[in-house]
């Protein structure tokens, strides 16, 4: 009986970490600086059966790298997919609460427009089975760009931006699948950059890569943050510490803590973050 009551109270307990996740800092006060803001975001999978994000409150700064870390299954990818509404493709997925992009409710923005502004790089490199050139031209072509010169310029620029140009400039018509894994991932980044987005979402972009390819992508991300807002999911805490400006730590669907990366790793405010960083679980 007592146990039952305990369960009841557990369920009713409302998660409220907003004190730990909304920062009281100058940069966050100016709405101009904020790319995404989430308020009281809940997400349910399987027609409401699975509560996968619980009361998320977070602001993502423009032209900064924000890293999402946390144990497997805590909802990092799920939140990332909220930002370009890729969750719409999943049957039975429901999002409640406010997510704003540049101050505008993302449900009111045309999804196609949103996805051209918010690019996504997936965990597994997934170039299309076409030539390198066509891989990059795919997005712009879908937006109706047909001019060959323009497309060629886009190809060159995005390959240079993604640090792939020197390796593939002499075989742009080779299949995208003929590249190595790390090259494929950079091709996927190039493909995303070709849309000239404002934000790039990266879901564990280096988890399928070896250390050298990983290093290259990390260098690239540092380069890219001059132009783009980047949100990156990673399992690798060193990576988060190396490349990100802000770090968000998730657990069991909650956003536990959000802070400047240095501060987060030096002085975690939540016990759970501290345990995770020091490797006591997860």
């Amino acid at each position: 009986m007592i146990e039952f009551e305990n369960e009841q109270t557990n369920v009713e307990q409302k998660v409220d970490n907003s004190a730990n996740t909304l920062l009281d800092k100058e940069e966050f006060k100016n709405p101009e600086n904020i790319a995404f803001s989430c308020r009281n975001v809940d997400l349910y999978y399987d027609y409401g059966e699975k509560h996968s994000l619980k009361n998320i409150n977070i602001d993502i700064l423009k032209n900064k790298v924000t890293a999402f870390i946390g144990p497997s299954g805590c909802g990092k990818s799920t939140l990332l997919r909220c930002f370009d509404r890729m969750n719409d493709l999943i049957d039975g997925c429901k999002v409640t609460g406010d997510i704003k992009y540049m101050g505008q409710d993302i449900n009111e923005i045309n999804t196609i427009y949103l996805r051209t502004k918010v690019g996504m790089v997936f965990q597994q490199p997934n170039p299309f089975p076409m030539s390198i050139r066509n891989n990059i031209c795919y997005g712009p072509r879908c937006q109706g760009i047909k001019n060959k010169d323009t497309l060629n310029k886009i190809v060159e620029q995005s390959l240079k931006d993604s640090a792939l140009y020197d390796e593939v400039s002499d075989r742009l018509d080779a299949s995208g699948l003929s590249l190595s894994g790390g090259q494929q991932q950079r091709l996927c980044i190039a493909r995303t950059i070709a849309m000239s987005p404002d934000v790039i979402l990266m879901d564990e972009p280096t988890s399928a890569l070896d250390p050298i390819a990983t290093l290259k992508i990390e260098e690239l991300i540092k380069e890219l943050k001059k132009k783009y807002t980047i949100i990156i999911v990673t399992h690798n805490m060193q990576q988060a510490a190396r490349i990100s400006d802000y770090t968000a730590f998730f657990m069991l669907g909650e956003l536990v803590e959000f802070n400047e990366t240095e501060e987060f790793f030096a002085h975690p405010r939540d016990k759970r973050s501290e345990d995770y960083i020091t490797g006591r679980f997860g």
């Binding site: 890729m86 493709l89 049957d91 996504m120 997936f122 997934n126 795919y138 879908c142 937006q143 849309m195």
Partner: protein, 352 residues
């Protein structure tokens, strides 16, 4: 002591695995044997038809009045009429066969592809299995039912055309019936091809701001193209080879000159083979085998050309250029060697 035991164990285990390997290899050979039997049946059928089909050109058939006839080789290629008396020409039958098939494909290919695309990518989740089952059922309906449907529904509709038709029996009716018959086949294969498209490609496309229509055309159909083409090859085979349903609606017009107009009645290789076969005798019966040769050759040629095209479509190309027979030989020679040594060893042991 312990060492000895281990040694024994290893020998024991080794024997066990050897026996397992032996059964594997024997089963493999048995399957090869069965495959060879099946393949030789096909060859046997072809030889049978060839032999029977050449007969009308060389054998003397006696008619009632004491005359003797053979199938005229020259007329077989040049005559514009099909006759069962030794003077028929199959040229227009062949043309009509190809023409009817082509017309049916013009209808069935787009319809099938879009049906498959709809079922996999657009249909509501609950409706999907229902529609899929319907298509599966359609593909198992026997051709005579399609023929009856053509006679009862399609022909009367064609008859409504403002021009004179042969009671609606026409090349167009045959094409429509063939299209209906091949749509389920092509659709089923296309569904499988489209379902096999890598989900991550689709996600990547959508994440790049492509609309659903763009994703479907540029990624889904593009990636599934060789699978869909395999379905089309099956559809072509079905359309080229269908006899019953075609014979019921095409009008069986022995004069081939009107073949260009789809509203005219016509005659295909298959319908010429089938129509009146019950009453046929002598040369009128045997010459159907000659048409059979033509039909087999056409189907073999077209499907192998289409297969070459399909293989060109596949992204992954195998570079191996050794001949198939050599490959098969290599594939099995090690098995035979293994089995031989196994039994040799065994006999040696037994004789000891």
């Amino acid at each position: 002591m312990l060492e000895e035991l281990n040694k024994d164990n290893i020998v024991q285990e080794d024997k066990k695995f050897k026996r397992k390997e032996l059964t594997d290899r024997i089963v493999k050979l048995i399957f090869l044997f069965i495959a060879i039997i099946c393949a030789s049946f096909v060859i046997f059928i072809v030889i049978f038809i060839l032999e029977k089909g050449i007969e009308p050109f060389v054998k003397n058939y006696s008619l009632v009045e004491g005359e003797v006839v053979q199938q005229n080789i020259g007329l077989f290629f040049t005559n514009t009429r099909w006759l069962y008396d030794g003077n028929g020409g199959m040229g227009f039958l062949l043309l009509t066969t190809l023409y009817t098939t082509l017309l049916s494909l013009i209808i069935s290919i787009p319809v099938s592809i879009f049906t498959a695309l709809f079922i996999v990518r657009m249909a509501p989740k609950r409706a999907k299995p229902v529609i899929k089952t319907c298509v599966e059922l359609l593909s198992s309906i026997p051709s005579v039912i399609y023929g009856i449907f053509g006679m009862g529904v399609i022909c009367p509709i064609i008859q409504m055309a403002p021009v004179q038709t042969f009671a609606g029996n026409s090349i167009l009716s045959a094409s429509l019936v063939l299209a209906l018959m091949s749509i389920p086949t092509i659709t089923m294969v296309s569904i499988n091809a489209i379902e096999a498209v890598d989900k991550s490609m689709i996600n990547a496309s959508i994440a790049l701001g492509a609309s659903n229509a763009q994703t479907n055309l540029k990624i889904v159909l593009f990636s599934a193209k060789s699978g869909i083409f395999a379905g089309i090859i099956l559809g072509v085979g079905r359309a080229l080879g269908e006899a019953t349903a075609v014979q019921m609606v095409i009008g069986n017009n022995a004069n081939g000159l009107g073949f260009y107009n789809p509203l005219n009645p016509g005659m295909t290789l298959t319908s010429a083979m089938l129509s009146g076969i019950g009453e046929a005798s002598g040369i009128g019966y045997d010459v159907r085998f000659s048409l059979g040769i033509v039909l087999i050759l056409v189907i073999l040629m077209i499907t192998s050309i289409l297969n070459v095209v399909k293989n060109k479509m596949d992204v992954i190309k195998t570079k191996n250029s050794t001949s198939v027979i050599k490959k098969i030989g290599k594939f099995f020679s090690s098995d035979i060697a293994f089995i031989r040594t196994y039994f040799n060893d065994k006999f040696k042991k037994d004789s000891k």
